[in-house]
Symmetry: C2
Subunit: 384 residues, 2 copies
């Protein structure tokens, strides 16, 4: 009963069967899930989603699994929209910290794990700056699967390390960046039965992240806010939301002319996408000596660079870097004046929003959604 038709190479459009295990395409680029949207449009009413429980699992016709009665469920919910009292625009925080394991990574990993099980895999490995590994560990354990995570030793939050271990992951800490950890994963698993579920290196995490876009569309009554501000490391969320919006347009459920401007936020100590966007490049060069307190966006090189840059340009969006000092001040301000304890990456979106308000790129007529990707309760807080 799945509407999934095939997988398609994001670089050259070649198609591959969806009922087999795939990693990157032969061209070395992400594979994208393609659905029979024509049939879907005939058979599904968009109003059905609001009548279902189960958070992002409610969008099952737009997801790749074949049996939703057996997918792992850990209390998925639709994440709330919280209005800020900052009145320079209509600014709303979408609080992804309410998902299982306390972060948006639950969306992608729930799908990756569920689909891996359907395809007969039992052992899943990946690099992580923390939250993705925690989500993998939880969903894998729920499915009696093994998980293996390699994390940077220097800035993975201690809570992430502890929750991964509690939830049954095998963990290695490495002196290096997330892409170094990715290389270590490949070293460890080559020639074994372990499967690599790194960001965009298999096709299904992206489909989970896509649900952020589907959910926003539903929550806004099948219109969308004018600006989406998203903290960008690997970029799966940015790419996934945009993929979702385009599917909804093709289904006739959204108007093309009403799609939002997408904003990628990075830290000024690690801003490869911001640099590539400013240079008009199609791909992003690796960022040397990457550093930021926001561990989740310390990603010097990402396999989704082309897709991110395409998304920003197609949407008339932008990419912006913020300093750690500005992240910390935004973090404190939201906590003390709004009662919202975001993660540092979420605070970065507010810092970026403030800069874009100052320059006029965001105006007071805009309706802005900031993505808080994880609960602030996972992080050492800048109390002093």
């Amino acid at each position: 009963m799945s509407f999934l038709q095939h997988l398609q190479c994001s670089l050259n459009g070649d198609v591959y069967p969806a009922d087999q295990v795939h990693a990157l395409s032969p061209a070395g680029r992400p594979l994208l899930c393609r659905y029979d949207l024509k049939r879907l449009r005939q058979q599904v009413d968009r109003d059905v989603f609001a009548t279902r429980d189960g958070g992002f699992w409610c969008y099952e016709e737009l997801l790749p699994c074949t049996d939703y009665s057996s997918v792992p469920r850990l209390g998925e919910i639709k994440t709330p929209l919280i209005s800020l009292r900052d009145r320079r625009a209509r600014i709303v925080v979408k609080d992804e910290g309410r998902l299982p394991t306390g972060s948006f990574k639950a969306r992608g990993l729930a799908l990756a794990v569920a689909r891996a099980r359907e395809l007969g895999l039992h052992q899943l490995a990946m690099p992580s700056n923390g939250n993705a590994g925690a989500a993998l560990a939880a969903y894998a354990s729920r499915c009696d699967m093994r998980s293996l995570v390699v994390c940077p030793a220097d800035n993975t939050p201690q809570m992430n390390i502890d929750e991964m271990r509690m939830q049954g992951a095998e963990l290695e800490l490495l002196d290096g960046m997330i892409d170094d950890c990715g290389k270590r994963v490949r070293e460890l698993i080559t020639g074994t039965d372990w499967f690599d579920v790194s960001t965009l290196k298999e096709p299904y995490r992206l489909e989970g992240k896509k649900t952020m876009g589907l959910e926003l569309a539903e929550q806004y009554g099948w219109k969308l806010p004018s600006v989406i501000v998203y903290p960008t490391g690997g970029g799966t969320g940015l790419i996934g939301m945009w993929k979702g919006f385009k599917e909804l347009v093709e289904l006739g459920w959204l108007q093309q002319s009403e799609l939002p401007r997408m904003v990628a936020v990075q830290a000024d100590g690690c801003a490869p996408i911001v640099r590539a966007f400013a240079e008009g490049a199609d791909e992003a060069r690796r960022w040397d000596n990457a550093h930021t307190l926001a561990a989740g966006i310390r990603v010097p090189a990402a396999v989704g660079d082309r897709l991110m840059l395409q998304t920003l340009r197609e949407s008339n969006g932008t990419a912006i870097a913020v300093s750690d000092a500005h992240i910390v001040s935004a973090w404190k301000q939201l906590a003390s004046s709004e009662g919202l304890l975001l993660c540092p990456e979420g605070a970065a979106t507010y810092a970026a929003c403030q800069q874009l308000l100052d320059t006029g790129w965001i105006s007071k007529d805009d309706e802005v959604v900031l993505f808080n990707c994880a609960t602030g309760l996972k992080y050492p807080l800048p109390v002093t």
Copy 2:
């Protein structure tokens, strides 16, 4: 448009006007909100609640505020029910860690703060083992009100201390138990404009906690599970849920004969309610030398003792103590085999459930709800 009629002393039934500020009754006991349920029944359809957003705020006709357009909103949601794979009974975790500030304390404090503002108060103080203080800080800051919290220095989790400070609370750490902290609060605020929002010492936190019961009733289709297992410190949740169930019975929305058995869970190092229940007493003596790693249930003496004991007896429930070792093993087991990272108090409910399954008090035909009162991400985890 409120259906709130008056406040009533829980000891002697005397009534007091609801539009004035009240603490304990003149008899020194908690005051309870009483509603015009006859009029409410005529004017309100229970199916309306499922059509509203805003989590527990959706039950507005059964809550004490007068203007719901201005109550503080931080992304309240209906908390998910997560089935365990443990098949000895139908066991479900209600995950309160998904609420604003990551704990069930959001329910009570949202109501206390909202109602305090309606009654003209601006400065709210209380003792807390951590989560209540964090919820007070967030909702008070959201309302531009001041908050003051006194916590035990020895076992308040560091994250609670940090989040209270980030969210703008004034904080004092004291060498003592939660009731000692309560005395210190009274010392600090006597003769000032600060108002004491300690558990059950004002009438509105209880109404917030009541929504756990209303929400369960709605989620279970206006029937209820047969057993509710609840970690019990101050006991507001236990008392509040029972109060809610009785109101729903009076409204004709629930059957009296189908009310659940209520189980109070305490740690064996601090079990005053378990002892009083076993002794058949109406009140509980203070527990000397209280100790447990589960900070939230280290409450040696509670002003709601009579109401808790009444609830347990009226519901044919029970009270049970579990060891810290058993809490830790349940905590690890749920994380590694179910993918659920509970708080230690939530883990205590699973430990209790296991004991009650072993003795047969819970049988395989029972439908059991365990309350996980906070996200596990706030706590030092027992990784080794």
